[in-house]
Every structure is written in structure tokens, then in C-alpha cells.
């Protein structure tokens, strides 16, 4: 990693040069909510003035740049009683600007799942290789809890990361590509004072998290609470609408659909991002549904995020962005569900069995 400092004015010139010449996406205000607050999304940008650098958080994550909501996996051509499969890993290069530490951590988690397992995804790899990520830190929103998940800082998975130290950005440069781009602009060695400002900024961010979730020991806790009535209680509220998984930066499930071309001379195989909350997620051929109950489906979403599945080394895949909580119309969010679960057991007074004596 190389550290440099760049004035905000010069930084804008740098970004402008990048976005003028490349297909780029950055945070833009798309609406104003009825609460008066702006709503942001990662959107195409063609000049630096279109980017809202002081944005809070985007409503949807950046995952669809690597895992498109719909993607053609292959096309089949039929001819003379035979067929040929055509596969293309097409990924035009893109620049992603303004990802938060949690967002970049989420991409690192997706890398683990998509690239480091037994069957690496060539589709994902093509997209992941062909991007340039510029991260930016921010002061947490009242409901952000990435600190609880230890995802509030990030040290890999980006080309360039910018920490706001007032009139300048403190740059962590993590790729030669980024360094070569930046060489054309006025960047300086960090001074003693810049270093102090960076430490101060980090401390400030760390101390500003208003939402905390106790996740230590949670995997074991979840195992014990498999049959807790809590799941049905929250399941009764759930609309099985899948919004949580669509906006989540680490939900990666998909369904595969095959459709014939209308001329019957070929067909396509597509994948389509899906959610374990959707009613037929665990329905198998023959019609049996392993998870017909809303509460069970909701439970498994929490298990995957906070207990982990063997497929991703049992790591917790939630990064604490609370996008799912913000998107959920039924007001289901990780903080309330997990606190409820803990509270139910930790405040249980039924048997009051004494703790074993200290030895």
C-alpha cells in the first residue's frame, strides 16, 4: 500500500478525467423521500459534477456490478438434430466510485464465495477483474452497524481508498494502475499532521456508531435457538418479498431459467438473483417445499448471515450496512431480530439454573 494526500480540488480533476474516459458509476441522488431525506443509488456518471461525494449510503448495494440481477449464462444453437453451446464472459471495464468500507468488504466476501470455492465462477471473475474500485470513508448513519461486524475498515479489495481529512483526501493506493493514473496529478507525501488527521478521522468514525449488535458467540447462540418462537414472531410480519436480499451486498443466491427462442432454433440459460425469503426457494422437483413457513425462510436468511454456511467457511457474511433493514417494509432488521433473540434467552427466568461454581 502507498499513502498519499490529494487536495479535494485536485481529486475532483482526477475523478473527472477518469469518468470522462471510462464507463463509470458513482453515488447520485435519485429521489427525496417523504421524510425529506435524499435517496441515493450507484448510477452511471459522465462527469465529476454528477457525483454526490457527500452522499450517505446508497439504497441498493454495488453487488449487481459483479452479480447482475439477470445474466445470460449461455446460448444454445440447435441445428440438424444437434446443438452447440455458446458461452461469453463479457465484462466491459468499469470504474466504481464511492464504495464504503462495508461495501468493499462485501465484495471481498463475494470473492470468497464466488472465486475461492470448489467451483469458481468464470462469469464473476470476468467482471471482478475488469473493474476499478475507489472507496471513500464516511461518518456512520444512526442505523449502520458495520463496526459490530468488524467491517468498518477495509484493507484490500479496492484500487484506491480515500479518507476525508478536511481539505484533502488521505489516499491508500492499492494498485499500480491507480498509482499510474494518479501520477499525472498533484499528490503529496502525507505530512505528520496529515497522519494525525487520519488517525483522528478514524477514531471519530469508530466512536460514532450508535447501533451496536452483540455478535460474539452468535453462531453458537443461533444453533441453540433453532426452534425459538422468535422466528415465527418475525416471520408473521415478513411479506416474503425478497427486497432484503435484492439490496444486500452479500446475498448471492440465484435461480436458473431456460427459455427457448421464439423461433425454436435456440435457447438461452439465464440466471436471476433470488432470495431465500421467496416462497419457492426451497421447493424441489415434485413440488415438495422444504421451507413452506415464512418464519423458517426468514430464519435461514439470518443463519446464513450470522452463523455462516460451510460453503463460505462458516464466516458471517453480513457486513452491517443495514440496507435490508431500510428496505424492509415490515420493519424487520438485524438489530431488532438479533436483540430479540438474545433477550428472549438471556432474560429467561423460568428455571433459573445456577451457573456452575468457579473453580
Amino acid at each position: 500500500m502507498i499513502y498519499k494526500v490529494i487536495s479535494k480540488g485536485e481529486f475532483k480533476a482526477f475523478i473527472d478525467a477518469l469518468v470522462q474516459n471510462n464507463s463509470s458509476f458513482g453515488p447520485r441522488k435519485v429521489d427525496t423521500g417523504s421524510n425529506g431525506k435524499p435517496i441515493y443509488q450507484f448510477m452511471p456518471v459522465k462527469s465529476v459534477d454528477e457525483i454526490d461525494f457527500d452522499y450517505t449510503v446508497t439504497h441498493s448495494s454495488a453487488k449487481h456490478f459483479f452479480l447482475p440481477y439477470r445474466d445470460e449464462l449461455s446460448h444454445f444453437n440447435f441445428s440438424d438434430g444437434n446443438w452447440e453451446q455458446e458461452i461469453r464472459y463479457e465484462a466491459p471495464p468499469i470504474i466504481l466510485i464511492g464504495l464504503r468500507p462495508c461495501d468493499i468488504n462485501a465484495v471481498n466476501i463475494l470473492d470468497d464465495v464466488m472465486l475461492h470455492g470448489a467451483y469458481p465462477s468464470p462469469y464473476y471473475l470476468a467482471r471482478r477483474k475488469n473493474n476499478f474500485i475507489i472507496g471513500m470513508d464516511h461518518m456512520p448513519l444512526p442505523d449502520c452497524f458495520c463496526h459490530s461486524m468488524n467491517r468498518h475498515t477495509v484493507n484490500h479489495g479496492f484500487n484506491l481508498f480515500c479518507s476525508d481529512i478536511g481539505d484533502s483526501y488521505y489516499l491508500s493506493i492499492n494498485s499500480s494502475k491507480a498509482f499510474n493514473f494518479l501520477k499525472e496529478f498533484k499528490i503529496e507525501e502525507p505530512t505528520y499532521e496529515d497522519n494525525c488527521l487520519l488517525i483522528e478521522r478514524r477514531k471519530n468514525i469508530k466512536n460514532s456508531f450508535a447501533t451496536k449488535i452483540e455478535v460474539s458467540g452468535l453462531p453458537c447462540f443461533l444453533d441453540i435457538e433453532f426452534d425459538s418462537p422468535i422466528w415465527q414472531k418475525w416471520g408473521d410480519k415478513c411479506l416474503s418479498c425478497g427486497s432484503c436480499a435484492m439490496v444486500c451486498p452479500t446475498c448471492y443466491c440465484y435461480s436458473v431459467e431456460e427459455c427457448f427462442d421464439i423461433d425454436l432454433k435456440g435457447s438461452t440459460r439465464q440466471n436471476h438473483l433470488y432470495s431465500c425469503n421467496l416462497v419457492d426457494f426451497a421447493q424441489v422437483t415434485g413440488g415438495h417445499n422444504f421451507r413452506p413457513k415464512t418464519g423458517d425462510r426468514l430464519k435461514y436468511r439470518y443463519y446464513h448471515h450470522y452463523r455462516g454456511f460451510a460453503a463460505n467457511d462458516n464466516q458471517q457474511i453480513c457486513v452491517g450496512c443495514n440496507r435490508c433493514g431500510r428496505a424492509c417494509l415490515a420493519d424487520i432488521n438485524p438489530k431488532d431480530v438479533i436483540n430479540d433473540l438474545r433477550l428472549e434467552r438471556e432474560s429467561c427466568m423460568i428455571c433459573v439454573s445456577p451457573s456452575p461454581d468457579k473453580t
Binding site: 423521500g33 449487481h64 416474503s240 421464439i262 438473483l273 416462497v279
Partner: protein, 254 residues
């Protein structure tokens, strides 16, 4: 027609309209880019928007519209008797559709308002499955041509024919739309079957549920969230009644 080395028969199809605007049938004649291929799959026996043939041997009957007159019942039963596969085509056929608005007022009043008291034979609007057995339903006001193409190709090639089970919100989120509830508006997306690519909400209009209920929808929770947001329950009832698609859930309010 040759498919994967198999000779296939074109399917004999008839399309029939009842009480409706014929907009769904018109959709079939749309989308020029695939129209020749689409028509090549079919042997059109009876379809007044596409062909002047009036034959009455067909395997598949597309039935559009709702049933609002006694003579329509007889005609529909005759079609059912001939068709091997009967498809309720469009929201009117699947749920009663906009025509069902008249079910909410006394019939005399409707006749007075619409026909100026002329003697007309009319009765409350019924969906097709109220009268005959339906094999497949293709909802939508109007239907989506892409979906119709996929379903007819599925029938022709004897592959699986299905509709999405999940609600419109999935597709809406995939379009990166701002949720209308965040703008302080009502939307039936969370309880409505997806498959339209969330066209209405992408255009910032509320989903009115033309594709009918999503599978296993959670109506009590939906009412709850509308109340929690202090949105108008009257407006919600109006929206639910618009296409008559949520009638079976009318009592789910807690």
C-alpha cells in the same frame, strides 16, 4: 416445423373475447420483431384480430375477458368442450378485471349510468374459472407479450409452463427503483405476482395488482404496514378492488 430433430405439429389455436377491451389480444399482434416466428408456431383457426378464418377445431383456446351475460356462459362452455387446453388470458379472464367494478353497485344503477336505462341483459362480472375449468392463467392488464410467448413455446415444446411465484418487489428492486412507500405512497407490489418487470413502479405509478396475488401472500402483515405508515386504508381498499384480484383476501384485515 422441426425442433431438435423432431417434427412438430403447429398448435391449432383459437382466441376468443368476452367482456373486455380486447387489449390483451391486441398485445399478441404487437411486437413486430418476433411476430412472424410467433405466428409460425401456431395454426390460427379463429382469431379475429389476426385472421379472417373462423374454424372451430382448435387445441388451445385463449379466452379473454370476463363473463357478464348469460349468452356468454353458453359460448364459453362450447369453447371449453372443444379445447384441449383452455387459457384464461389477461386480468379480466383471470380475476374479473376492471369490469368487476360494477359488482360493487346495484345492477340497476350500473345499467342506468352506462346504458341510459336501455334494456340490457347483464349480470355481475365473473372470472372464467367461475364458469369452466381453466388449465393455465396468463394474468396482466394487458398481458406481457414476452410471457405469452414463453408460455406458448412451453406448451408447443411440452416443457414446463409456470409464472413467477414471488411479488413485484423483487423485479422493482432489480430495477433500482425508489420504493413508492419511501415516497409516502401506497403500492400493491408486495402482494402482487411478479412477471411484468415492475413496469408501473418503474414509471413511478403504484402497482394496482393487475397480475393478481403472489403465492402465499401475507395480507395481514401488509395491512399492518399500511396502518403503521398512517396511509389511507380507504385508498388501499380501492386499489385492492380495482381488478377484483384480491377478493379472496378481503377478510384478512386484522
Amino acid at each position: 416445423m422441426n425442433h431438435l430433430g423432431f417434427e412438430m405439429e403447429k398448435v391449432k389455436i383459437g382466441s376468443f373475447d368476452f367482456t373486455c377491451c380486447e387489449g390483451c389480444q391486441l398485445q399478441l399482434a404487437n411486437k413486430e420483431s418476433t411476430l412472424p416466428d410467433f405466428l409460425a408456431l401456431l395454426d390460427i383457426r379463429n382469431f379475429r384480430e389476426i385472421s379472417s378464418e373462423r374454424l372451430d377445431d382448435y387445441d388451445i383456446a385463449l379466452v379473454e375477458g370476463s363473463i357478464t351475460r348469460p349468452d356468454e356462459i353458453e359460448r364459453l362452455k362450447a369453447i371449453r368442450a372443444k379445447a384441449k387446453v383452455l387459457i384464461a388470458f389477461g386480468t379480466c379472464a383471470c380475476f374479473g378485471g376492471v369490469n368487476s367494478l360494477k359488482n360493487r353497485i346495484p345492477q340497476e344503477e350500473a345499467i342506468r349510468e352506462v346504458y341510459d336505462n336501455k334494456a340490457v341483459e347483464t349480470m355481475p362480472s365473473m372470472k372464467i374459472s367461475d364458469v369452466v375449468q381453466v388449465d393455465h392463467s396468463i394474468p396482466g392488464c394487458p398481458v406481457s407479450k414476452d410471457e405469452v410467448e414463453q408460455i406458448l413455446v412451453g406448451i408447443v415444446t411440452r416443457s414446463q409452463v409456470s409464472l413467477p411465484t414471488y411479488p413485484v418487489c423483487v423485479d422493482c428492486k432489480q430495477q433500482l427503483n425508489t420504493c413508492l412507500f419511501d415516497l409516502g405512497e401506497l403500492c400493491l407490489g408486495p402482494i402482487t405476482r411478479a412477471g411484468c418487470n415492475a413496469v408501473c413502479t418503474t414509471g413511478k405509478s403504484a402497482c394496482l395488482g393487475c397480475r393478481g396475488p403472489a403465492e402465499e401472500l401475507n395480507m395481514p402483515a401488509f395491512f399492518e404496514l399500511v396502518k403503521d405508515r398512517a396511509l389511507s386504508l380507504n385508498d388501499l381498499h380501492e386499489m385492492l378492488a380495482f381488478y377484483n384480484a384480491f377478493e379472496p383476501f378481503a377478510t384478512d384485515e386484522t
